[in-house]
Subunit: 428 residues, 2 copies
């Protein structure tokens, strides 16, 4: 891709009105644009990064035996009335009437929809222990949406739901999902995310955990025991001054909730009549679990974690751009030809390459933008390329520089990207 | 994937309440489930097919130089008020107030959002001739939503938008998009889709064309000239008894609109103040085009076109399942082991395989389901496999049968699928 064809402008000015580094950088680097309070457009680069995050989540969800489906954003309010949440949830749940006067809501979570599907699809004990998930747009009309992607009203969520006949079946899947979450966050570069006991909140149910990315910008407060490692949200642990498990002292940390898992029990299935026959022919209530990951929020957390004064510096697994090509020095036709051939070859090799082909900006301005956008590897063509046929590969995060021959530049890029991926995955 | 793990049941009974073959088959084959009038859930198989359709659309959009972004489903009504469509569009546009009392709408199309983005992102003639697109969920509260995916209220749409300084720039992109559409529909197996002149409808603008998939179940009426080939929607050609181009007689056909393209002019950009400086420094209005494809509707059209009495028979490029494994005859452990190894190897080779491992159904019931679900190749393990180590590969659409050795079954599957893909793409 060429910079002159990219939709959207990078912003040079630091902004005073932002609430977090990720908000500022995602806007300045032209990854996202705010449409309204808590509502964003993902521009080309933001979407590329988001899609890589989604791919990792899908991969681990599928490996854990979950199957992907896609439910609707508009729901018939009837099922929400039957579970009681139409009346119990505040204005966060958007309600409207359709043209026939029928009550509808915007999907803020999908327990009701999965349970109503299960009511017709499940019949016997053979049909349970199934997990479905989707990656889909949710709307929650939060009173306190913040700037940036940390707390939005419209957001992308991976939401999974499991259906069981026994509490053992639920417990097993709950554990499998927790393990999948740990793998997902590790692959994303957030391997220190902690699983903490949490309140069941508006989901109800018996047991719940949140996955916390520890960041000072976070809105949640988490207590972590200095001795046994038990962790809990302040909502659960309240004003206990010591660990409720072992009595040792607690460390308090700020975190952003990036995932949550719930053992829901039969709250939704009983309300919507979801029952199956067991092996003895007896009809029994189906037990349910649900499992969420804030996909677009993850992009914000990743930028919070992986940036520096100069801009975004995401890991190779989640970056929007693998390689960013700059031609510096005097304008030379052969360098343009080389950049163009790098662009074509990279596309064939599956390398996401951005060539800054703008001619109306200084070298300094373009170098500043390269750092801001945060490609994994900056590829510089210039005087050395003309003199001795070499190009410079510079790693964004480590700053390491490699000089390679222009002829083998794409091979070198491919190998270097792979090495960085391997190196980062062993650290994270 | 194993049938016993699939969420959802196939339905044996033919339904009396359906309005089209695709409605009946997509429900019976467990591809989709209706949630409410005109609102559907895509179950595992339906989503797999949808994702293959999306991949073909993305491939051709990217090849045509369009870049993917993702806009929101909830819009600030202000931009719709500024273009006048908040007041001019009927109840099809869902309006609601958020918790602060601010007017919002559900995105039924995104001209307003793209234009308001362009107002801040575009500055000069260097920034135009850009095309952005998304594949995103739309909601239109249609009074006459029908059963099945042909006309729904919530649907998946590929919507693209282009921004230009000159009408020549718009005309070029309009032509490029029309060519990309022709390639997309050909790859999908709908190569006979016709580009027909259409009215500009609620989009406004100067010129518009629809792409029609000729199907008797279609709601549109199209006139095609028997002599010069000119085609137009009845909305345009009205009660003309002869071709308005050459005077020859017209043939009338029924069709489903699967795509549309609009030369919008400056209707949206003027309303939202989108202007750039030209090469002489003069500020000029930006000219806009928009280009839609009904992604979920395409799934319905494909099933309308590719099915038989026994069930769904999609092309290899759009099928939900490449291979459907059945073990027939007496229960033999070695056949189960073979089926299981086919499942694993296929996954590694990127073949989407469904193994019907249900033990509570007769061979006849499972064969009926295999035809209903419509995998490209049915793989049968049975008596012959035990006797001489062969398995049967049967092509769903042609009925051709191949006997191959069990040892090389996955290789044979891989090659046969490729041959079918090539054969179908040369015909379509």
């Amino acid at each position: 891709m060429r910079f002159t064809q990219l939709f959207g402008r990078t912003l040079r000015e630091r902004r005073a009105d932002v609430e977090s580094a990720s908000h500022e950088l995602l806007e300045r680097a032209c990854y996202v644009r705010q449409h309204a309070a808590g509502i964003y457009t993902y521009l080309t680069l933001g979407l590329k990064s988001l899609r890589r995050i989604e791919a990792i989540i899908r991969d681990e969800m599928n490996a854990a035996g979950a199957q992907e489906i896609l439910m609707s954003m508009v729901h018939d309010a009837d099922v929400w009335k039957r579970t009681g949440r139409y009346d119990s949830i505040d204005a966060t749940l958007v309600r409207f009437k359709d043209r026939r006067g029928h009550d509808c809501v915007l999907g803020m979570t999908h327990e009701e929809i999965v349970a109503s599907l299960a009511a017709t699809e499940l019949r016997s004990y053979r049909d349970v222990d199934v997990v479905v998930y989707q990656i889909q747009t949710k709307f929650r009309d939060e009173a306190r949406s913040r700037g940036g992607l940390l707390r939005t009203r419209e957001f992308l969520m991976k939401d999974a739901y499991s259906l069981h006949l026994t509490t053992d079946g639920l417990a097993k899947t709950y554990g499998d999902q927790a393990s999948a979450y740990a793998r997902i966050f590790r692959r994303l570069g957030l391997g220190d995310a902690a699983m903490v006991e949490s309140s069941t909140g508006l989901m109800g149910g018996k047991q719940a955990h949140e996955f916390m990315c520890f960041l000072d910008v976070g809105e949640d407060t988490v207590a972590v025991c200095r001795s046994c490692g038990y962790a809990a949200n302040i909502d659960v642990i309240g004003d206990a001054q010591n660990c409720t498990r072992c009595g040792a002292s607690l460390e308090w940390k700020r975190g952003v909730e990036i995932g949550n898992i719930f053992q829901l029990g039969t709250r939704y299935t009983d309300a919507l009549g979801v029952a199956v026959t067991d092996a003895h022919g007896t009809r029994r209530s189906v037990i349910m679990g649900s499992y969420g990951i804030g996909v677009s929020r993850l992009l914000a957390c990743l930028v919070e974690r992986f940036h520096d004064d100069r801009g975004i510096a995401l890991t190779a697994a989640t970056t929007a751009i693998d390689a960013h090509v700059l031609v510096l020095g005097r304008r030379d036709e052969s360098l343009q030809t080389l950049a163009s051939s790098l662009e074509c070859e990279s596309r064939e090799r599956g390398i996401e390459l951005l060539w800054d082909d703008r001619t109306d900006l200084s070298a300094g301005e373009r170098l500043t933008d390269a750092d801001l956008l945060g490609a994994t590897i900056r590829v510089t063509l210039g005087r050395d390329t003309l003199a001795d046929g070499t190009v410079e590969l510079r790693e964004r995060r480590s700053g390491r520089v490699h000089t390679v021959s222009a002829d083998g530049a794409v091979d070198a890029l491919f190998r270097l990207r792979k090495d960085i991926l391997i190196g980062e995955s062993s650290v994270c």
